[in-house]
């Protein structure tokens, strides 16, 4: 069976059409959107991408990581540091970034899975590693310590060095989000993907039917960390600055988890829908709080909205939409 056939097997035709139209719209979007609209769409795609990366671990394999900022931060710092100090382009730096994050993921995974830390205990381990790293980077001169690392802002488009304006970064993050979507689909429709779902549902029963549980979990954390590192690199070159306080912040790790949770854990389209909903709500509430001149009201509304969604659609927004409009993807 060809790869394309395998990827589209069992997907309703209307869903394929829908995906095709969506992709076409996203490809031409920069021509029609203003600066603001484009920046919002960039944010949506960024959260959709990292959400998909995190979803591999939690949604597919059932391993709760609350320290994914570690991988994004490591990736961003390594690529940006190499560029800043030695002029190594980000496409090359990406390899070092991904390798380092994958290695970090392997260490966290090994400690957690080898010693059977499950659920919240594993989550605590992921937080701890992210925090250690934040403190270490605070005191590491090569990356600028707590004062931060700054890249020179340069708006002339330079694909080789990932320097340029928002349109360039838009297409890069679009390619990443689409690539992650295809990868997730391919993974889910493979033996490894089914083994992950089995582990998520019941690790003991999975092992009894021959699933190498430890190995499968390790692969999940390494893939997830590696993908997250790519987002970190993109983020570092998009914003041109890095601070340990934000790059490894607990809040950032939480941000990564929101889109898949709101959109639908374990689904392919959930993280993408979640990113749209979250970013959309965020922008609306920002406008509202500016309108009423009440600072801080954004966070209150944002929190309330999330609460309401989680209360009424605990499986996520996407499974509900998919059900209503017959797109067919259920939580697996």
């Amino acid at each position: 069976m060809s790869l394309l056939h395998r990827l589209t097997d069992g997907v309703p035709l209307r869903a394929l059409w829908g995906l095709g139209l969506l992709l076409a719209a996203l490809l031409v979007a920069p021509a029609f959107l203003g600066k603001y609209g484009l920046s919002v769409l960039i944010l949506v795609l960024y959260f959709a991408y990292v959400g998909q990366a995190w979803n591999i671990m939690m949604g597919f394999a059932g391993q709760l990581s609350l320290g994914h900022a570690l991988y994004a931060g490591l990736g961003g710092y390594i690529a940006a540091g190499l560029f800043f100090h030695y002029g190594v382009g980000p496409w090359l730096g990406l390899f070092a970034a991904v390798a380092a994050a994958a290695a970090a993921g392997a260490v966290v995974g090994y400690l957690g899975f080898r010693f059977s830390l499950a659920g919240v205990y594993f989550a605590l381990l992921t937080i701890a590693f992210s925090e250690f790293t934040r403190i270490a980077f605070d005191h590491w001169g090569w990356v600028g310590g707590s004062g931060g690392l700054f890249l020179k802002v340069d708006a002339t488009a330079d694909w080789l060095n990932l320097r340029g304006g928002p349109v360039l970064f838009y297409y890069v993050i679009l390619a990443l989000a689409v690539g992650a979507f295809i990868l997730c689909r391919a993974l889910l429709e493979s033996r490894l993907g089914r083994y992950w779902l089995a582990i998520r549902e019941d690790a003991e029963a999975a092992q009894a039917v021959g699933v190498p549980v430890f190995r499968c979990k390790m692969i999940a954390v390494v893939i997830s960390a590696a993908l997250t590192a790519v987002a970190g690199v993109w983020n570092a070159f998009y914003y041109n600055n890095l601070f340990p306080e934000t790059a490894f912040a607990m809040g950032r790790s939480i941000e990564f988890t929101l889109a898949p949770i709101i959109g639908g854990l374990g689904t392919l389209f959930g993280p993408i829908v979640g990113a749209v909903v979250l970013t959309g709500l965020g922008e609306i509430f920002t406008d509202l709080s500016e309108l009423f001149h009440i600072s801080g009201i954004k966070q209150i509304f944002y929190g309330l909205a999330l609460l309401i969604i989680v209360m009424y659609r605990p499986a996520g927004v996407w499974p509900w939409i998919a059900d209503r409009f017959g797109f067919g993807e259920k939580r697996r």
Binding site: D202, Q207, A208, G210, P212
Partner: protein, 245 residues
């Protein structure tokens, strides 16, 4: 759908303690290739602990377990499965969020890495266990008897040479017990699969098992044909209480 032929199971003096509590002590017996044996005993006698030692969940503190002469005790559960042992859980463990078909497909993937092949094999097994109509239902929506059937289907999907069944008849109505007994007997005759079952439903034990091993307080107290066991004084004492002197 099964591995072709059964394997011989041999337990040699296995024992297991939990924090000083002697759960199983010096149990030895063997099940010849292609035979069906039953393991019975009162609650807490150590039957499931014996199963868990065969299946690799626990490493025996003493003794060895071997399959066709190859030692499997000390291996991880997934490697024991690889060696040809399929098992069901007394407290059923379906992959709740997955469909019935996907549950069995996970088992079938063990010997068939391609998803399509595994799914076809799984559908085949579900057909034979009477779960085919329910294949698209979520496993968590099944009734208890159907969950028990699902356990058997998932274990069979790994194409074992030895099948360990932990109280799969419990909770089934007598007619359902007969259906399951007929299925297992047919499977055994057709494929030569070796079966060891823990069972409280004597109707099933009598109908299926060529030999019965009885354990009490972690030790083997008797072994023989169902008829011999039914007459055995030690067994009667355990089940009915010793006669007052």
């Amino acid at each position: 759908m099964s591995g072709g032929s059964g394997a011989r199971l041999e337990l040699a003096g296995i024992g297991k303690n939990f924090r000083g509590l002697r759960a199983v002590h010096d149990v030895s017996f063997s099940v010849p290739a292609g035979a069906i044996h039953a393991l019975i005993g009162p609650n807490g006698a150590g039957k499931t602990t014996i199963f868990n030692m065969i299946a690799g969940v626990y490493r025996p503190d003493a003794g060895t377990v071997s399959l066709d002469g190859r030692q499997i005790s000390g291996l991880r559960p997934d490697l024991v499965c690889d060696a040809g042992v399929g098992r069901t859980f007394q407290i059923v463990k379906p992959f709740k969020g997955l469909s019935v078909l996907e549950n069995v497909t996970v088992g079938a993937l063990h010997r068939r890495p391609a998803l399509g092949d595994a799914r076809a094999a799984a559908a085949d097994i579900l057909e034979r266990l009477g779960l085919h109509d329910r294949r698209h239902q979520a496993a968590e929506s099944l009734t208890l008897p159907d969950r028990k059937r699902l356990e058997v289907a998932r274990a069979l999907a790994t194409e074992p040479k030895l099948l360990l069944l932990d109280e799969v008849m419990a909770g089934l109505r007598p007619t359902e017990v007969d259906v399951m007994v007929a299925f297992l007997r047919d499977l055994n005759v057709r494929t030569g699969l070796t079966i060891l079952l823990i069972e409280h439903v004597m109707r099933a034990v009598m109908a299926l098992a060529a030999e019965v091993v009885v354990v009490s307080y972690g030790e083997k107290i008797a072994q023989g044909t169902p008829a011999e066991i039914a007459r055995n004084q030690a067994v009667l004492d355990v089940y009915l209480g010793e006669e007052e002197a």
